[in-house]
Amino acid sequence: MKSSGKIVIIGSSVAAISAIETIREKNKNLPITVITKDRDLFYSRPLISYTNFTDEQRYYRDKNFFRKNNVDLIFGEATIVKNNSVVLENKKNVKFSELLIAVGGKPITLDIKGIDGKNVFTLTTKDDADNIKKFCKNKKHAVVIGCGMIGIKAAEFLKGLGLNVSIVELMDKPFASVLDEKSGKIIADKIKKHAKLILNNSVSDIKENQCILKNGEKIPSDIVICAIGVVPNLDIAKKSQIKTNRGIVVDEFMRTSRKNVYAAGDCTEALDILSGKKIPIPIWPVAYRQGAVAGSNIAGIAKEYAGGFVRNSVDVFGLPLITLGLSNDKSGEEIVFSDEKSKVYKKAIVKDGKIIGAIFVGDIARAGIFTGMIKDGIDVSNFKNEIFSENFGYIYVPKEFRSKEVTPIEI
């Protein structure tokens, strides 16, 4: 599989960057070209909502990353893959020997009256953030549609810009798919201290200065951010006859159905180890890992993607929240620790002796041990009642399951 020709990568976010780093680790000389729409290459997308940051602080890698790694850049939009070339918007052809599609996701749009108004935005790129910032000058009220990861960050962003924020959520709690009732309530209470939270409702009409909700309620809004979430960006894949499902279909080597074409990151659907199915897992660490796997294979060193699972960490107006795996599953045994006073809530769901999901609110210390236990499928039957005890730690992980990073054979 050794590449001789020219590697082309579409996209310049985390999957692309980790692919470049991996390729360069193994081969300093392979020519790499990145085709990207982003004008400002170095920022990290999750940081766009941090209003008090300088551009410098938003850089994911240092400014000279592409130059240092000897990567050619083409600014423009790739539209289709034809034969062994990528065709750009301006009809230019870029030849490749291996192609990596890392185009990420795109925001879900809603079919609401007034959604195409000038006061309606999405928030996934730095351009979005800059546009919102400009638009918000002298504005007072904002509505965020959707109370998930992006919704919260959008609300914090708008608060940071000095606006009053209302969040409208269709479901009965924030982060509806990953939180249970109790954690949902704690998070909702926290949000309510900073923004107006309207649950079980939706926006049906966006006007210039107000939103009309499904129940007829009117709320003032000079700006609306649609933050329902993202779906894999399948535009180029579909046009190029690359097999797609909910995301671009890839095998364990991150190869698509088209020869010499790889895909990685939010645009793919890859193995979810908890369900055993292939689904899009649009989270940063998965994109990074997939990018690295694709990069390694492109550089000629076979590497498999072992699968991942949904997990996220978000700071909700200062209250840390981590959800892991099937955190809202109702079929397993629930092990709960809750301290109402300190707003700490922790829950793990155990099924067939293994943890399949967990929620941490308020106290997230050492949550990664749970990530590890889920990933390695460690049987917790013997100590499941102690997992939220004060002393719980890696010491509970049976010696035979401990990583070699901890206990090498020689010690």
Partner: protein
């Protein structure tokens, strides 16, 4: 690369490693001064775990495919090309805790004293032997090159 390993058979949970870690990362680097004057702002970068008589001190493993580096959205968590160690840049860190979520050893800690940032073992950077290893009276912590430790 050289890493810190524990030998649980000889760890007696005296916590001298933790104290040494605090002092090594204090401003004054003097034990009494650090404790008396800086104490509330000090966070150790290792964790001592105990379960009955079993105990060990665990700190960043500087994993090869480090999950924290993968998860870090800011680029604060980086693998040093030369040293192989995973380093953390306080200035870049925004305290999103993605690293805490990802570290399977649970050895990335929160430092919320000044600014909300993650903190972890830096192998005491330019020192010959990390402070915790140096302080362990029972050689339950060792700093050495171990073959085969990179595989998971």
């Amino acid at each position: 690369m050289k890493k810190i390993y524990f030998n649980e058979e000889y760890c007696m949970a005296c916590r001298l490693c933790e104290i040494a870690c605090l002092v090594a990362h204090s401003k004054s680097k003097k034990i009494i001064k650090a404790y008396k004057e800086e104490f509330p702002s000090l966070t150790p970068r290792l964790i001592i775990e105990q379960k009955g008589p079993l105990s060990f001190a665990i700190q960043c493993r500087h994993c090869k495919d480090a999950p924290c580096v993968e998860a870090c959205v800011t680029g604060a968590m980086k693998r040093g090309k030369k040293t192989g160690a995973v380093s953390h840049d306080r200035e870049k860190c925004v305290g999103c805790w993605m690293c805490i979520m990802s570290c399977p050893f649970g050895v990335i800690l929160m430092d919320t004293k000044e600014k909300k940032v993650a903190t972890k073992c830096d192998l005491c950077e330019d020192v010959r032997e990390p402070a915790c290893v140096d302080a362990c009276p029972n050689e339950a912590l060792v700093y050495k090159e171990v073959k085969g430790s990179e595989k998971k």
